[in-house]
Symmetry: D3
Subunit: 306 residues, 6 copies
């Protein structure tokens, strides 16, 4: 069960209202790398997790991320606070209001017209948050790697947001949020490596003949490095050795029952594009006279008689 | 530039058509952990990457994932091949067609009614593929971690799909695809650790006072382990030490200009919910007589006179 | 700031694992009327709210809804618990696994293949949760009405879910969650009616000549009732009185500058569909001989000569 | 059956083309609170409704909302009319075209580049309209409350749009549309209260012991008011009384069959994160030398020997 | 199987970095009419296609579209190249960074803050690419028509993008991509008309009595032309002849079983909106005193006594 | 302005309630090829269209499609009518209700649990309708081609739905709807070919050197036909002639300013993946002992000493 205290985890001091900056901050409120994604990622994992250590850790961090969602949402709200009053009471001249609302050069017009200055669970372009951002699949060696990556991404987005503001209060709170992503990544790393073995993830081993192979499928500018070079790699660069690597022809077959086969053939015949035809097309009907002439000339090998 | 050869990377041999199984396979065609997500993840990173080693590797693997997309799509197509003919030529009795289309107990009805038996870029529940599944952010220590995690997830989904079929040709092709995720993960790991240092990701260091802190925010069932215990961790479990951790009050403030302040107050007054009121509500208007009586009785402290 | 305790708000006792039932329960976990929608609806309103009474109430209820999200998610997890082990360890015969996974007749195949039996933030059809489900707009008389409606909807969905299970532990927990929606609706009603006036919502009055008008725009089966009848309604049923109700012609005009006007005309001429033409079309090219004959016959008023 | 007349319900007179303003107007064309959402909300309810009075009312209002969709779409089209010609005929210098298209400071670039100046069913940030905006659930006491709330929201958005323009023709048409939301709300209120009783919604009563309870789950800044105070409310503020409110332990259990239990245990063992381990992690491999030194020093309790 | 060469199909020469222009270009990278949509449209059709001619053509063009995706993505990357370094290394003053990021007046802030300057699979408004953009249904006479239309749309978007830039290298590459859409349309036209007959699409003929009918359902401003006039059209303009065109009453009936009928009636009774009632509503509770007075006055036909 | 009559355009007679069949029918109510998509496609084009003939035709057909939306929605509603009562009144035993709701083997569980048996604007898999299904771009030669294709697709989906039912009333109404798609396609074809020229679409001509070229990019199984053969095509099959077709190197360049260049280099250096390194990786930390041994053995060229 959750409980709440109206004191924030980190004090928020906004020096000056700025709806344009608020709009950028939405990235970590309702964006793909933001705090709702983080909180829900760990919360849903925690609910489905039986391992007592991971379960405890996931609930701890999920709860902290919810608290961060509150901090970043509060920053958004404070940056919009002035605009919210102006919008609700509408005392500006209308042209002035229009210029103010569209003036930031980003999507803060949405925050104001649609959301009335409230913090909305969208990214900075106004795209609604989607649980499609969460990539948990219910297997701990995969999910912990996903968590590690998610913390790395969130850390970077905070770094970018910090670069966009000179308001010291905003910057400091962002710095705190950024730092916690580092700490969380460390916890998830420990939990992953405390599973042994954890690579390859899951239970089934790979097919040994394909585990150490590297296919050079992009030609030109090849660079060999530890990712495809050395005694642990077999490097295959000839295209013909990259096809049908099972030794078969690289073809596809399905065994059809007789009635299935008959219908497939009937369909094939009915819908065949006849390669030996030379049909007139809709596009040809629609050409200008000049294009038609050029087309027909090519067809005849000479200009048509009139 | 891409080129294509109609031979598949791995031979596909389907023993028996089965639209229900085809539907499960869609998970790795147009699902979040599937091959389109993989191919586009690495392709877009490659296009934006300047480091020659990573660029080469990303193009190699992107191209292989496209080739895997073709393999899994071909499996889907072959499993649906019989149904496709039956649907297009419609010779079954109608009730029979209805039962066949809805009989698998999953979403293969969509593949047939909407997509005509063709492979569609949806997951197994019919949800359209979205680039929201791709979490690249244009920073290599984050993106490589994301790639590592993505390969781990895809490996597991293939493992699950393999458990669902006893068709040896399908199983073998899935086994190949699963194995390649292991090999790709290894390449991405090497490329990540060939960046030095790579942790914390990005350029900005964390605030030292918060990098090694673990907040115990979920009470009951605590388990200490390497993720929150030992000399590298500071463990904070008292709730009051988890609020306002900057030493401030944990409150939020914004400096408003005078006119902003005035409008905020005007709005506040106009829209206040008066705590000292006891208004009749719409819900009360809509109650049954019995509920209304109960409500009023509570209000009066006794049953109302009639 | 949030904190968490691993005890649930309501004890969950599942009598028998049932992934098919778990799938239905997802409706209130990650569905549009579910607990995440509720929690985030009230949480985002709370963060943006300045009125002290509403702010306190919104945080209270948001926190409770998060706790409900945990209860319903736990029900989902417990109902899937057996399947999760079977899937991860994969000891069944493959055909058996296939039948089990697709056997429920709903979308539980997704929960298993993609999410590994973990609770996923989707509705029961596998559609990812979207913040587009949240309709807050940052104005209290509108948002409180939205909250009242949201509680009413959630109450009904719980009622339907309760009708689908005879597991007494599940049913009882659902009953608790359903009941709390009633209580929350009552709170929101009180908070709305404690704003005075609260109708019409917002600040601007309507145009008096159109506030009390009812347009009968659907003919046949008219039923008059308090929603369009009585001294407070003006009932307009003649279609010609429903057009151009401002007294103008019901037409649309825009003042164009001369150069805009010139370009609009140039575009119009270039792209005109000439009504006096009788062009041959692509469809006609593609007709069967019989259809073509019929078409031409109509055109000529008689069958064409051969 | 629908029919159409090319006269609008309200005359539209646009004084000056302005694609930036057109973009804001999209909010009520293809946005979540806009006219398509309204029309489809009532239309789908009407089609599924058997009560003759509500059915008639819903068809009436759905038809009017479609007519409003036409009015607001016409406003969008007229505001874009000049830009449409400029774009199609492309006679400006290219830099000029670029500046014009990106100059409004909002998302009108999308309307022009992607939609060619035509009215698109997106919100003002370019997000496609989704039927996820419609929250009808097929129960009249819930759906009517949803309709009431929807009208309240739409009224407010029109109020905000009116504040953004000084074009008298646009403003007047918006005023009409805003006013009609007030009238519709009144109709829906009458239809709701003409169902008796209508609260609680649906058929099942709540559990009496939890219907009148208010849980104070957010601490600090509590404000008591009619929403949680008075003889009709039981106020519970002690956290320990908010957990396991059924009197049970607040725990979750599921009865597993023996084979399910065995597999769950096998999975648990295989994937345990061992709390007594102290594994080296990938993050540690990736640290800078300075960080590694700091880490090891902490581990040893002193600086390591070289 | 795919392979790749790092040489582009067309040389890309960007004269000057410009993140704002890059943002517009995204339309053809991850927008609905863009190259990913094209490539995936033809690729999935190719995988599901058995006709050897179409299969070959679809793979050819799909592969070329992937190569175009690379060209347009490279243009995006090059236009963002300068910004990417500035963002990653963050040496500007913060206000400067903020102004640069929000200065383009479009959604390039997203490309920078969220995607770090890398090419993202979104449209120019930041909306993620969705396979819902692909309309293939697995029937060749429909799918080829869809392909023809898709090429026509893509051609136009390129035309618009070309009008927005005076960078000769960008313009030339866009011109190449635009031209190829013309060539592809020609191929698809030929393949469609090489199916004979191809109209009406599919196998079932229409009901002859309704195939040639045109219903004039929008009154005012009628224009007759070849689309509704001439010997091949039957023009029906009387509304009463447009309803129940089968000769039935235009009503809807379903045969219910007795128990179904009983429950439908029970539900109807329980939830009826009583047209003879005149209930007080929530809206009336919330009115201002003035509005209430007006309302009651209307009700009484005179001002109420005090 | 729209008006409505409660008589349907076509009489709907449902023989027996069947929620499973209702679910399939949703495809043409709220699916991508369904009637809402059709109605909104033509309605939005009509609103933005100035050409009087097309404008009239588009409003006529949009209005008819709205009337079809009503017909198909009514079919859905009638097929669900029995289930709706059962659900709302909930008199079945719970297990019976569960079996009924999940028994159809498709997504009708969603229609019942979430939508209460009402017609919902989703496809048959429960995916919400999205305006992303509409591909209008505001240029008539493209939009009319899109309309032609849309009608062809809708015709096919109706054909498939007809094959799924033996209820004569349902089948007949579907037949009517299918037939009208044929008629609409004919109108759109006429309107397209009444624009002259209409190919290539738009205003800009292609680059002559690339308009008639066909690139054979998929090797193996080539089939030549009118789509790539004959005097109007130049067929290029050598891969090296498909790269850098402008005669340049097929490379990408951008002119960077000095400070941009410096930062790009700084970033490159900081984030280089060093190809000459051989770093230990996280995956290697996580390997089983057996895998580690194998790995090290390969590295050493022999088994390591113990």
């Amino acid at each position: 069960m959750f409980s709440h205290n109206k004191r924030l985890q980190y004090t928020v001091r906004v020096g000056e209202c700025n709806p344009g900056l608020a709009n950028l901050m939405l990235e970590q409120f309702g964006g793909p790398q933001g705090e709702l994604a983080a909180a829900m990622r760990y919360f849903t994992q925690a609910v489905g997790e039986d391992d007592p250590g991971r379960r405890d850790m996931l609930f701890d961090i999920a709860t902290e991320e919810l608290s961060h969602l509150e901090v970043i949402g509060t920053i958004v709200g404070m940056l919009n606070k002035g605009a919210k009053g102006q919008l609700a009471e509408a005392v500006e001249a209308e042209g002035e209001m229009y210029r103010r609302i569209t003036g930031a050069g980003n999507d803060s017009h949405l925050t104001q017209v649609l959301y009335g200055g409230g913090p909305a669970l969208t990214n900075s372009a106004g795209v609604p948050w989607s649980s499609a951002y969460i990539d948990s699949i219910g297997e701990p060696t995969a999910d912990l790697r996903s968590n590690i990556a998610a913390e790395a991404r969130a850390k970077i987005i905070y770094e970018r947001l910090m670069a966009c503001t000179d308001d010291p209060g905003v910057k400091e709170a962002l710095g705190f949020l950024m730092t916690r992503e580092i700490a969380h990544q460390k916890s998830f790393e420990k939990a992953l490596y405390a599973i042994s073995p954890n690579f390859p993830p899951g239970k089934q081993p790979g097919m040994p003949q394909f585990t150490d192979v590297y296919f050079d499928m992009s030609k030109g500018g090849e660079v060999r490095g530890p990712w495809n070079e050395g005694p642990n790699w077999q490097y295959i660069d000839a295209p013909e050795q990259q096809m049908g690597v099972d030794g078969g022809g690289g073809e596809a077959t399905a065994t059809l029952q007789a009635n299935e086969q008959a219908l497939v053939q009937q369909m094939a015949q009915r819908t065949a594009s006849d390669p030996s035809s030379d049909p007139q097309t809709g596009a040809e009907l629609g050409m200008s006279e000049a294009d038609t002439l050029k087309n027909v000339t090519a067809q005849l090998g000479k200009e048509p008689k009139k």
